[in-house]
């Protein structure tokens, strides 16, 4: 598709992409105690990037996010693994999580738990895998 031929899709997606990404952020933080979490947030974010790729093209996505998605996946796996293994050093069983309540500026009393870091790993891994698959398929056609 020549560039600029789909003005509606392109202009709408410029805004919608951010709405989707914000929703993904919401899903990410609401996880662990209510429905949501790293996996679903990762899929939603990948959906936003896919919309961008459909409205423009894959090169645009590459320009917006100049990262190697295979490395994103590896980074995600590494973070998730390290969080799980971190328990070793506190004499706790593998994958045991810890949490605490902190007073943060703006947010007030907030619960922070290590499962969130694990989820961040999952998030990155899911975005990495999904985008690698999409880009690979997209390149072949």
């Amino acid at each position: 598709m020549p560039k600029g031929s789909d003005i509606f899709l392109q202009n709408v997606s410029k805004i919608v992409v951010f709405i989707i990404l914000a929703f993904a952020l919401y899903l990410f933080f609401t996880g662990h105690v209510s429905p949501g979490g790293g996996f679903i947030a990762g899929l939603t974010s990948a959906g936003a990037l896919l919309l961008l790729a459909l409205a423009f093209d894959i090169d645009t996505v590459r320009k917006v996010l100049p990262v190697d998605f295979k490395l994103v996946m590896a980074l995600g796996l590494l973070i998730a693994l390290c969080t799980g293994t971190g328990a070793f050093f506190f004499g706790e069983p593998f994958l045991k999580h810890a949490f605490g309540y902190f007073h943060l500026p703006l947010l007030g009393k907030t619960e922070l738990h290590t499962a969130l870091i694990f989820d961040l790993g999952v998030y990155l891994a899911v975005v990495g895998v999904t985008m690698t698959i999409l880009i690979t398929i997209g390149e072949d056609s």
Binding site: A74, L78, L81, E92, P93, F94, K96, H97
Partner: protein
């Protein structure tokens, strides 16, 4: 609680992930992956020591007590197999430094191998049926990528068979897991065993057991093996060796574990079925091996026939045959890897996979020839070598139980395998060279040296079978008495 129980799974996972970041630094990748597999072997030895001195090691992941959480269980059987797998993988990795082309190495070969090892070790150590499924998938996904890596025409064709058959069996696996959960309300192996022992193994549960038998048989190459000789011959030797040594054995391990720990009540149905499948596998696999002229296919059929033999031990399930099964399984992992590695050198040396086009290899590489001969004799079970004690125990045990058919099948297996392997030796190594040898394979001595530790190991296994016996009988005790396993899981 012992966190080391998770280490044989975590070390390969960490290595695999780190290697993704280093995918352009080949030399670094090679050494990291070798170091990691050696470290894994060291951890396995440490676990072996702990299991010997303190009994079964368990880890309740994330601190959830069984049956609510997922538990890892390192008993003697699992740890012995983890140890063998680590040693085999270290040798295969060393071999692949020279035996795999740079293009494949650059495309995440080492990462994939380590992901597969994580799946293999996880399958051995897990104490939860669904977690077993996850580990199987981890192992299979990486094996899909490994088998197609390089993308030759033959690899694509065989990959298609391989993926289709495995996806089908994985679907059946999930379905039977769901049925089992519906019937018993648990997926923890020890808890499953308890629940089924309490309520009796009713008809429907036996049906689920038969479904799981089909699933594990496909993975192990027991009777449902038509895809195996082709698929295992397609990728380069180092990958075939890993597949032949590890993947089928994981299936066999799952069979032995589930039919000694959980479904041991209706032996007249399930174990008889396993026995029949085993005999059929030996006959078909044995004659398959004899009839082929392609080295890799002969070895593929050898893998199948040996699996048939171990399943005979499972079908009899007395103390001696179970000891034999443990011993034979460990030995078979090592010797099958060795045979595939040596066959890889042989094929590179002669430039063909067909044994009737080879000849005269003994003249210019005597070391390779004698190593191959010793490995072949070990497969058959000639006394001072490692194949003998396991085979003896299985045949002796089946005679004790009055299973003469099974003992006869075991002897028949030895004859057929001997014939098929000696055929490679006579046609490939004796005689005059058929065509001028092309010396394009300069790394040949290094390849031989990287397979030498495996050869040493099978000799040692045979010679020091007596000191190894306490470990083997400890493993077999747990297999013949499920309550030891159950108590270990629920002790905390």
């Amino acid at each position: 609680m012992n966190n080391w129980t998770a280490a044989p799974m975590l070390i390969p996972l960490f290595t695999a992930v780190i290697l993704i970041f280093l995918h352009n630094r080949l030399q670094l990748q090679r050494w990291i992956s070798l170091l990691s597999s050696l470290l894994n072997a060291a951890v396995a030895i440490f676990l072996l020591y702990r299991v010997r001195t303190e009994g079964i090691q368990t880890l309740n992941m994330s601190g959830w007590a069984p049956p609510y959480g997922i538990v890892l269980v390192a008993d003697m059987f699992a740890v012995l197999l983890v140890l063998a797998a680590s040693i085999v993988s270290a040798c295969c990795l060393l071999y692949s430094f020279r035996g795999i082309d740079e293009e494949r190495e650059r495309h995440y070969f080492y990462s994939l191998v380590h992901f597969m090892l994580a799946g293999v070790n996880g399958s051995f150590l897990t104490g939860d049926l669904f977690n077993l499924f996850v580990c199987f998938e981890l192992m299979l996904m990486s094996s899909y990528a490994l088998i197609v890596l390089g993308g030759t025409r033959r690899q694509f064709r065989e990959t298609l068979h391989y993926i289709l058959i495995n996806v089908l069996s994985s679907t059946l696996f999930v379905a039977s897991v769901a049925y089992l959960y519906g019937a018993t309300g648990t997926l923890n192996l020890a808890h499953l065993s308890l629940r089924i022992a309490e309520s009796g193994q009713s008809g429907p549960i036996t049906v689920v057991a038969a479904m799981l038998l089909v699933v594990f048989s496909v993975k192990a190459g027991l009777f449902l093996f038509f895809w195996l000789p082709g698929s295992y011959g397609a990728p380069p030797a180092a990958i075939s060796a890993l597949f032949g040594a590890l993947l089928t054995k994981v299936g066999m391990y799952a069979l032995i574990r589930s039919f000694t720990l959980i479904f041991y009540h209706e032996t007249a149905v399930t174990h008889t079925l396993i026995g029949i499948m085993g005999i059929a596998t030996i006959v078909l696999g044995g004659f398959g091996a004899v009839s082929q002229t392609n080295v890799n296919r002969i070895l593929g059929y050898n893998v199948i026939a040996s699996i048939g033999f171990v399943s005979l031990a499972l079908s009899v399930s007395n103390e001696d045959t179970l000891k034999g099964a443990v011993f034979y399984l460990v030995h078979d992992m090592i010797v099958k890897a060795l045979l595939f590695l040596l066959a890889g050198i042989l094929v590179a040396e002669t430039g063909t996979e067909r044994i009737n086009k080879m000849g005269g290899v003994l003249d210019h590489s005597p070391l390779l020839s004698w190593m191959f001969l010793i490995a072949s004799l070990a497969v058959v079970g000639i006394p001072p070598l490692g194949g003998f004690p396991g085979k003896l125990l299985i045949i002796q045990g089946s005679l004790e139980s009055g299973e003469y058919m099974i003992a006869a099948a075991g002897v028949l297996l030895s004859l057929l395998l001997l014939y098929s392997l000696i055929k490679i030796f006579i046609l490939g190594f004796w005689g005059k060279p058929r065509k001028p040898r092309e010396t394009n394979w300069k790394q040949h001595p290094k390849l031989l040296w990287s397979s030498a530790p495996l050869l040493l190991l099978i000799v040692l296994l045979g010679v020091f079978a007596e000191p190894a016996m306490p470990y083997v009988s400890r493993a077999a005790d747990i297999l013949s008495d499920p309550s030891i396993y159950i108590q270990a899981v629920f002790k905390e």
